[in-house]
Amino acid sequence: MSSLTVARKDFRDAIHSRALWALVLTFLVFSVITAYGYTEAPELFGGEAEATFGGLVFFLLAFTALFVPLVAIVVGYKSIAGERELGSIKLLLSLPTTRKQVFVGKVLGRGAVLMTGLSIGIVVGLLVGAVLIGSIDLYALVAFVGLTLLFTAVYAVIMVSISATTGSTTRATTYAIGFFLLFELIWDVVPLAIVYVVEGFSIPSEFPPWVYIVTQVSPSTAYSSGLLALLPDIADSLGENTGGGTAGDVGSGPEPFYQTPELGLVMLAFWLVVPLVVGYVRFERADL
């Protein structure tokens, strides 16, 4: 299977990159500092005075939610556009393979690079935290690491797919940063702005239910919700908001699915599939 050969070569190529190791090291250091900071002064960050492993997990999430997209941009934006711009894609495609296999190989290779580096950082950070706290919640550990790997895979897919749409790294950078700005930094404002306009330029007292769905489009929001869905008990104990617009009405019966944190998992699945299709179609049709 030549996708795997491409992925292996890409992985080998990437692990020789100093920039990548610098990022992994930075992440490792930050995750340890974060874990240490949380266990020393949990009241600064959460509602509780006592540091718990579950609290640490949620605390670390705020950090990975920002860090994963940034590292994914660095690792992914040049993956295909860079090879097209330089011309090394010609060496690759001179060999018996197809563009589909090259694309899939790139996604797998970059995904593996990201997942390896990030999981090392997270696991070390969490273990340091567990030692300092003196307890560990294995289910929370596995759920958090698993979900973070999924989130990382999602971002690897997004960034490699963005890279596959163009032969210019300048454009790939613009698209990648644009994606980050739109979906991670200003997305919170987007549903509010829509509501504001729809409601005749005023803020209503109660938000319509679709607002929650729109907020979950942001991959990092979906990631956070996903953790709420996987660890509801810890979330409750931390006073995390586990629902959408109707979070206050606990007694009003089961909420519809699209108003629950489980929607976050669906959104992550959406981001895993749709960019792949778009990136592949664009790459397949391009003149290199």
């Binding site: 030549s2 050969t5 491409v6 070569k9 080998r12 190529d13 020789h16 990159s17 090879e83 330089l86 011309g87 090394s88 010609k90 060496l91 495609l93 001179s94 060999l95 018996p96 393979t97 197809t98 049709r285 003149d287 290199l288």
Partner: protein, 306 residues
């Protein structure tokens, strides 16, 4: 079965017609030189053969397979030295060739191949530090992986010194002796002349000539050029030379007569000069250079281009 067959091939980039209704056939087992000035459409044609670029119209078949739909099958049996490629800076020469072996599913010895192309000494160095010539040798080694039935080489001597260019030709010759069809492009006539059996000249996306090297020579109107010393030379000498049968033009050049011969043996012409003009002290035969020929084919319609 033809090794490569392009029919009515066209490729348009925006408002530039890079390849314009090209018909080209390369027979199995031959060394074919694809010649043309920079920007004539050589690389675009090769990019279409390798499916880097999709044709606007027309069809290409390589070893009986459609280049677009069966590209993978084509490339399994083809070795390629592309134009404007870039190596993977962080991987070593050995890793490059091993990668090519893995992709082709063969277990050739990477170092043996690198040795053949003259870069075995740098096998374990990162290719990012290679010179242009070394990269060219590295990629040629990758092209030779799996004993391909067809070699497609785009400007193979780029970056090579004269010695390297000669080694490249020797490898091309050796592969051809083994039965490999070689298709290579160049904008330098003498490289093509040294190794090719047949040549196609492309200009502005058209094939303007397709023939054997000798055939191309014969097809020139120039014929052969003779430069003759006959003692004192003046305008009357030239007029007398011009009146001889088989002389199509004559002029004074450095105290000698330069004339072109067409339609008659040059020895007969020399005899006639000896008889009619005066005793020949010395003469020189200048073969019409293919370079001249190339220039003529590719600059003929310059007026259209302006």
């Amino acid at each position: 079965m033809a090794a490569i067959e392009c029919s009515n091939l066209s490729k348009r980039f925006g408002d530039v017609l890079a390849v314009d209704d090209l018909d080209l056939t390369i027979e199995d087992g031959e060394i074919f030189g694809f010649l043309g000035p920079n920007g004539a459409g050589k690389s675009t044609t090769i990019d279409i053969l390798l499916d880097f670029v999709r044709p606007s119209s027309g069809a290409v078949s390589v070893m009986g397979h459609d280049a677009q739909t069966e590209g993978r099958t084509v490339r399994q049996r083809t070795g390629v030295l592309p134009d404007a490629y870039h190596v993977y800076d962080r991987l070593t020469g050995r890793q490059h060739v091993r990668f090519a072996c893995e992709m082709k599913g063969v277990d050739d010895d990477p170092v043996a191949l690198l040795d053949r192309t003259g870069v075995a000494g740098a096998a374990d160095r990162r290719a990012g530090g290679y010179s242009k010539g070394m990269r060219q040798r590295l990629v040629l080694a990758m092209a030779l992986v799996g004993d391909p039935d067809l070699l497609i080489l785009d400007e193979p001597s780029t970056g090579l010194d004269p010695n390297g260019a000669r080694e490249m030709r020797e490898i091309i010759q050796a592969e051809n002796d083994r039965g490999t069809t070689v298709f290579f492009s160049s904008h330098i006539m003498e490289q093509v002349e040294a190794v090719c059996e047949r040549v196609g000249i492309i200009n502005e996306g058209h094939l303007v000539a397709e023939n054997s090297i000798d055939g191309l020579r014969d097809a020139t109107e120039t014929g052969e050029i003779l430069v003759v010393s006959v003692g004192h030379v003046d305008q009357t000498t030239v007029e007398r030379v011009q009146s001889i049968e088989g002389v199509s033009g004559a002029a004074i050049e450095d105290g000698r007569v330069r004339l072109s011969v067409t339609g008659r043996s040059k020895f007969r012409v020399l005899e006639s000069i000896d008889d009619a003009v005066g005793p020949i002290e010395d003469f020189e035969v200048i073969e019409a250079s293919l370079e001249d020929l190339f220039a003529r084919y590719t600059t003929g319609n310059q007026g259209d281009r302006m």
